[in-house]
Amino acid sequence: MHELLPPSRSDRFRSVGLIVGLLALFALISALVNDDASVTVVAAEPSVDGSTEGDVAPAGPLDGEFLISGSSTVYPIVLEQAEAFSDANDGVAISVEGPGSGDGAQKFCNGEVPIANASRLYKQQELEICEANGIEYIELRRGIDGITVISSPANDRIECLSFNDLYALISEEASGFDSWADANALTSLWDGTAFPDVALDVYGPGEESGTFDSFGEIVIEGVAKGKTGLDTESRDFVTSIRPDYTSSPDDNVILQGIGASDYSIGWVGFAFAKEAEEAGAAKLVQVAKEDGGLCVSPTEETIASAAFPIARFLYTYVNANAAANDPAVIAFVDYMMSDEGLDAVSSAGYINLADSDQLRAQAIWVNRVSGPAWD
């Protein structure tokens, strides 16, 4: 008699099992690969956790969790500080993101984060949200970022630009200019800088960026407000940046654009520009505040001494309530404002404050002075 084979019903479901199994394995491996000691610590020594919770002794290791948000410019500084801090305080869960100064302000003033960084002072409407939500803040200046005007390394005709030249090239009045010579129509109104007739490609960060805001405020608004000696009485100047430039939130994309065209022009933070120059990817253009004024190259020294005219301060906002009550936040800001913590500013490519500002910032923190402290 022939042996009838048993049916194989469950066979096809083995494949489903295979997929689920593989994904589970994937998850497991990544959990193991993950170095977060606490995963294994919790599994191996649950008593450690239990005892610290039961123990009210203040002498125990620091515990807590918080998120730092805000400027992507300041992110590299905070990343370094947060890492060094958590190496010394492994009980604190600390996280850092850098969505931008404005996003950070929104989260900070809604009470979502105790610490937020900014590449500019908070605007009035942002502070109003803070006020509406009863958020008191401590405003700490912590470093300087020079905004650097860059061009292609192949650009052999442009060495130095004045604020007025930048206005003629990048302000809203320059909309539609696709040759440097087009800007001569504007410069002829004042000193008559004559640009060559070569293609003008403009690159810069997008509106969400603090670098965009700062460049507009320092350069374009500076010109419009007569700070560069132009007659603002008899002629109206705009305060905004031309809309028809190529924008990107990613500075590396801007640098790529800059390198792609011989007579490109753009603006980025000093740290990016310096790296790009060292890598041969960009040329740093000297800047003079006034027509015919001193052309200054952006360097650590010229930015720190304010000789380089386009520079901005970097800030950190700390929730005053957290600064009074949250031991983890207090410990972190203590470290951040310490001389050791402040080394991160220069190692991240930015410029440390002059000593007087440094001491003042440290004093504001130590005394927990809340409200606007800088201008």
């Binding site: 022939h2 009838l4 084979l5 049916p7 194989s8």
Partner: protein, 278 residues
Amino acid sequence: MTMTEFAITAGVKAASGTGANDVFTVDGLNVFYGDHHAVSEVDLAVKEREITAFIGPSGCGKSTVLRCFNRMNDLIDIARVEGTVRYHGVDLYDEAVDPVAVRRRIGMVFQKPNPFPKSIFDNVAYGPRVGGRKGNLDEVVERSLRSAGLWDEVKDRLSESALGMSGGQQQRLCIARAIAVNPDVLLMDEPCSALDPIATGVIEELMKEIQSEYTIIIVTHNMQQAARVSDRTAFFTAEIDERSGQRRGKLVEFEETGTIFSNPGDERTEAYVTGRFG
């Protein structure tokens, strides 16, 4: 379910009680697909243990009528059936009747062999399994395959995929599969139209052999086939509806097969069976 089983069993008893050997009695059957009136006013009776053939040109509604016998038309959302189809006296379209129970008693073999993408064994065992039979199905499978004349060809490769068989073998497997649930009736919808003449001959012989146990209704395009195998033949034709321009199937004549082919009562039947039309 139990209620339906009861209803059908009662029907069988009632039918045998009257001495009538009609398996199906169809009265005033009309089938609609949405707005399309596909089949109109069919009346016929199918006798037990006979082979009844439905013939006629394409679009005459013969398959549609066949699919009313096991409520296969239920699977088409827009299909609607009017009139009565009695199975051993029970109205198949009664609200209490479960189409699933109907199909267990009235099996079907389709135009194109449609074995499941499973082993030969699992194909035959499928019906008994979904019917709730547990345990060893070896015997059922062997008996069904023997009935379908397939056992000797496949007994050594029962675990192989049914899709590896020839077209004729596949169709006989489908017959075996239908037999395995021990039905009362087999509906065959042009079972040989995808087969070569040799395979067709095998199937026809098979039908003759199993006729002693099953009532068979076969739809066929092939008049010789109807003449060879069937006891009775129903000739359908399609009329064009004057208002809608749609084809509407209609039963022209239903007689003993010999009569249909040698002495048809309707001239349309004669025209068709002599090859002058269709």
